[in-house]
């Protein structure tokens, strides 16, 4: 091969390689669900409201059958498919959670206890297969199929079990993000954010269908049933 041909081959190979590395990084390794920012531009110390929902499907990703969280963007009012939520530090966060999914039993019943929230209680309303009322502190999913998902932040000791809708309920949501007209259970609770940091949160109801012990699929993928509280 002539010198020119060799130079061109080596240069082309190098460029192709770099393009490949950049593509893999950008598209697969560095790609993340969007971060939804709460309390932006707000005076420090003011409480923040966060509205989330858990849906049995998601319709907006390559895995439409996977259970998912959606969060209402405070900027646009639209439902965003993201589990990375940025919150201000040392602030009270008032959470309203709409739960559209039917129930599964807890793998570890300890997660039926409400901890880490203000007063260690949550308030539940709607067609729940379980307790209703303002000051719920324990949900027993051993006697009733009561819980659909848990919002658990291990580093902060926060655990909130979201009760499930009756399995016989009519009008169950199959198109996410779900509209309020579908059967749902509303849970409200509050917690105080700590200092700055990344705090992971996850669910403890293994509902990853057809995976061993139910902890695969949506349970182990950020953006579906697990994510970060980015306190900054």
């Amino acid at each position: 091969m002539s010198l020119t041909a060799r130079i061109i081959t080596v240069a082309a190979a190098f460029l192709a390689l770099t393009a490949g590395v950049v593509f893999v990084l950008a598209h697969y390794l560095l790609a993340e669900p969007p971060t939804v920012v709460f309390g932006a531009g707000q005076a420090p110390g003011q409480p923040v409201s966060m509205t989330i929902m858990t849906d049995p499907v998601n319709d907006v990703s390559s895995h439409p059958d996977w259970v998912s969280y959606f969060v209402k963007s405070p900027q646009t009012g639209q439902w965003v498919h993201s589990t990375i939520w940025q919150l201000p530090p040392h602030t009270r966060v008032n959470v309203t959670a709409y739960q559209f999914d039917t129930c599964d039993p807890l793998r570890n019943q300890l997660m039926g206890e409400v901890t880490g929230t203000v007063g260690n209680v949550m308030a539940v309303s709607g067609e729940a297969d379980g307790l209703n009322g303002p000051g719920i502190s324990v949900v027993n999913s051993d006697t009733t199929c009561g819980v659909a998902h848990t919002f658990n932040v291990p580093e902060l000791g926060i655990n909130v079990p979201f009760e499930g809708i009756l399995y016989t309920a009519k009008n169950q949501c199959t198109l996410a993000p779900c509209a309020m007209s579908f059967t749902h259970v509303t849970t409200t609770f509050s917690f105080i954010t700590p200092g700055p940091g990344d705090y992971r949160w996850q669910c403890f109801i293994p509902c990853g269908l057809a995976s061993v012990d139910g902890n695969g699929h949506a349970m182990s993928t950020i953006g579906f049933m697990t994510g970060y509280l980015d306190v900054a």
């Binding site: 790609a31 990853g208 057809a210």
Partner: protein, 650 residues
């Protein structure tokens, strides 16, 4: 048994058997990598379609929203298509229908084209392996750079947890599965036939197939990223690996294919060494590098089948819902652990033994002395190989295994350090009153000895069960195996490359750049991995993206050194490409003045290696003997063969 008779005519280049119709077709009509890629693509779609056809109604597939069948069938059919496109099955099919196989006299073609074909010339396969291994090593090294970048901070995360664990798995698996053939592939396949005085290997088709399975395994493993990667690292512990999503199929298929490649390569190497030695090449005259290739190949043949079996069982657990490894329905997670490590421990000796072979081969040349304790050295390699099958449970000391077994495995693991230590006895003896020439290959060999010493001693510390309680699963283990594998094998590979590239291609690498590469690589390698002993003992487990804040300084030191180490490897790549593609400085004689048989023929060797099968007269370490004759007679008169069996030399 050496070859007893002189063949009547020169054999075909690299072997291949009697000829058929000559191949006089244009290059694009001959099977090569372009037809192979076509075959792979067709095969993937066919396999994927078949998987969907068979399994899309299964409850598991419907509920899980993923079809593992389709992925596995797709990969396997793609590999079959790739090999078919390469022409691997052509001779077989021709013979099945009664036609003679094609004439492979031209060694696969001329110029660069033959390196992209399925060829029966072991020298071409060696070069193919060389380029492939460098590509695989550098790709896996890029993943390592990503890991160290993430570990710069314990709290700020560049990659999210899912991406990080994918990267860790890709780096570890790519290195551990592909680097098993880092030395046996290029140097073993290229040089062993020449070193034993043979014109060919025993099974050239198996050897070529073993090479072509490596790009398949590499690409299948990489493609796991498209499916979200796999979250269980290179060890693949069940039941996590059964729980994982589609990327785990890439891992299992890739590792299984690589296991097959290893078995084929080992099988060919064992038979070549036992059956194709030239007359006079007694076992006591065999170069120590060939001994290391023999023991490595025996390990490959005996251990890799267990891996393939384990991966197969993982795949059936993931697809057809067998329950080998899932405790809920009677399986056992311990079964996987033991199957895996029964392969896994010989695997690390597959990685270590070739390094021993290269450095023991090189130091006599650069100290101008015979190899001290040649028999002890060979016996040590066999001792390591045999004992390596009796130590695997030291990876499982804390797992809840039978506690009575632990002192037993502690003893066997500590015992294996004795034959491993023989390489130091041999080295120190060879250094005694030597005449040191510090050329680049010698520098890398010395670096290997230093690094492996640290790695080996830390291994003895790990074999002590109480000390292992803190060190297991921590960065201490990471440092130990990087010192033995990268500090040992990779440094030895560099030594072998600088030493033998002139032999293999007639071109030498730039030695000034080589010295710079050695010093930077040695300093930054130690600077990267030495702190990891402390980091591990201070409590940081492996494969984590968050660690204690007080360990950040050490982690940063390690990360920045690793970037500089990456720069040193980049320097090597630049040197390699510059020297072989552009500068092409000829080095045709015997630049290192070695007495090895491979150096007595021209560089690069002619297609048949030797004009006539040589008669070997002595071992290649006769330095310093006043009356030492040549290592072999390259032009033996007919009839002298029987005399050679009682000839001179030790």
């Amino acid at each position: 048994m050496a070859i007893e008779t002189q063949p009547e005519k020169a054999e075909h280049s690299g072997g291949g058997g009697p000829g058929g119709p000559p191949a006089a077709r244009p290059w694009w009509m001959r099977p090569a990598i372009h037809t192979a890629i076509l075959g792979a693509v067709l095969g993937y779609f066919l396999g994927h379609w078949l998987g969907n056809f068979v399994a899309s109604g299964y409850q598991q597939v419907v509920e899980g929203d993923e079809n593992n069948f389709a992925i596995v069938f797709g990969y396997l059919a793609a590999t079959a298509g790739f090999l078919a496109g390469l022409g691997v099955f052509n001779d077989l099919l021709r013979q099945m229908v009664g036609l003679p196989p094609r004439d492979h006299d031209d060694g696969g073609g001329s110029g660069l084209a033959r390196y992209f074909r399925f060829t029966l010339d072991h020298k071409v396969v060696g070069i193919q392996y060389l380029v492939g291994m460098i590509i695989y090593f550098c790709t896996a090294g890029l993943f390592a750079m990503a890991i160290r970048t993430e570990l710069l901070s314990p709290s700020y995360h560049l990659f999210n947890a899912g991406a990080y664990i994918e990267i860790v798995g890709e780096h570890g698996t790519m290195m551990m599965m592909l680097m098993s053939s880092l030395v046996l592939g290029p140097f073993g396949n290229y040089l062993v036939p020449i070193m034993i005085g043979s014109k060919r290997v025993a099974f050239p088709r198996m050897e070529a197939l073993s090479f072509w399975l490596t790009p398949c395994a590499f690409l299948i493993l990489l493609s796991g990223l498209l499916f979200g990667g796999f979250p269980f690292g290179w060890t693949g512990y069940a039941p996590l690996s059964i729980q994982a999503t589609q990327g785990a199929d890439s891992y299992a298929v890739a590792f299984g294919l690589m296991g097959i490649s290893i078995i084929l390569a080992g099988f060919n190497m064992v038979c070549t060494i036992i059956c194709y030695r030239a007359p006079g090449m007694r076992w006591s005259r065999l170069p120590i590098f060939v001994w290391s290739m023999l023991t490595t190949a025996l390990l490959m043949v005996l251990a890799a089948p267990v891996l393939v079996g384990g991966m197969y069982m993982m795949l059936t657990d993931r697809t057809v819902q067998t329950a080998f490894f899932v405790p809920d329905l009677g399986g056992s997670s311990y079964l996987y652990e033991n199957l895996f490590w029964f392969f896994g421990h010989p695997e690390v000796y597959i990685l270590a033994l070739p390094g021993f072979g290269i450095v023991s081969e090189i130091i006599p040349v650069f100290t101008r002395k015979p190899l001290f304790g040649y028999k002890v050295s060979a016996a040590g390699m066999f001792g390591v190989a045999i004992l390596s099958f009796f130590v695997w449970q030291h990876h499982l000391f804390d797992s809840g295994m039978d506690p009575d077994m632990r002192p037993l495995f502690m003893i066997t693991t500590e015992l294996i350090s004795i034959p491993t230590g023989f390489i130091y006895l041999v080295a120190l003896g060879t250094f005694w009153k030597a005449r040191f020439r510090f050329s680049v290959p010698m520098l890398f060999a010395l670096g290997m000895y230093f690094n492996f010493l640290i790695g080996g001693i830390s291994g003895v510390m790990l074999s002590d069960v109480p000390a292992d309680t803190t060190a297991h699963g921590s960065f201490f283990v990471m440092a130990h195996f990087h010192y033995t594998i990268m500090g040992g094998l990779v440094f030895a590979f560099m030594a072998g490359l600088y030493y033998w590239l002139p032999k293999m291609t007639g071109i030498r690498l730039n030695l000034r750049l080589g010295k710079i590469q050695f010093w930077t690589m040695f300093v930054f390698f130690n600077s990267t991995f030495l702190p990891m002993f402390a980091i591990g003992e201070a409590g940081q487990p492996r494969r984590v993206f968050e660690y204690a804040a007080n360990l950040q300084t050490l982690n940063d030191w390690s990360s920045i050194s690793s970037f500089l180490l990456g720069g040193s490897i980049l320097l090597f790549v630049i040197n390699f490409i510059w020297s072989t593609v552009f500068a092409r400085v000829r080095e045709e004689g015997n630049p290192w003045r070695s007495r090895g048989l491979e150096w007595q023929i021209p560089s690069p060797p002619p297609p048949d290696n030797f004009e006539h099968i040589p008669v070997v007269l002595s071992d290649p370490y006769r330095y310093g003997f006043k009356d030492a004759g040549p290592v072999a007679d390259l032009y033996p008169p007919a009839g002298v063969i029987s005399g050679a069996l009682t000839g001179s030399g030790a």
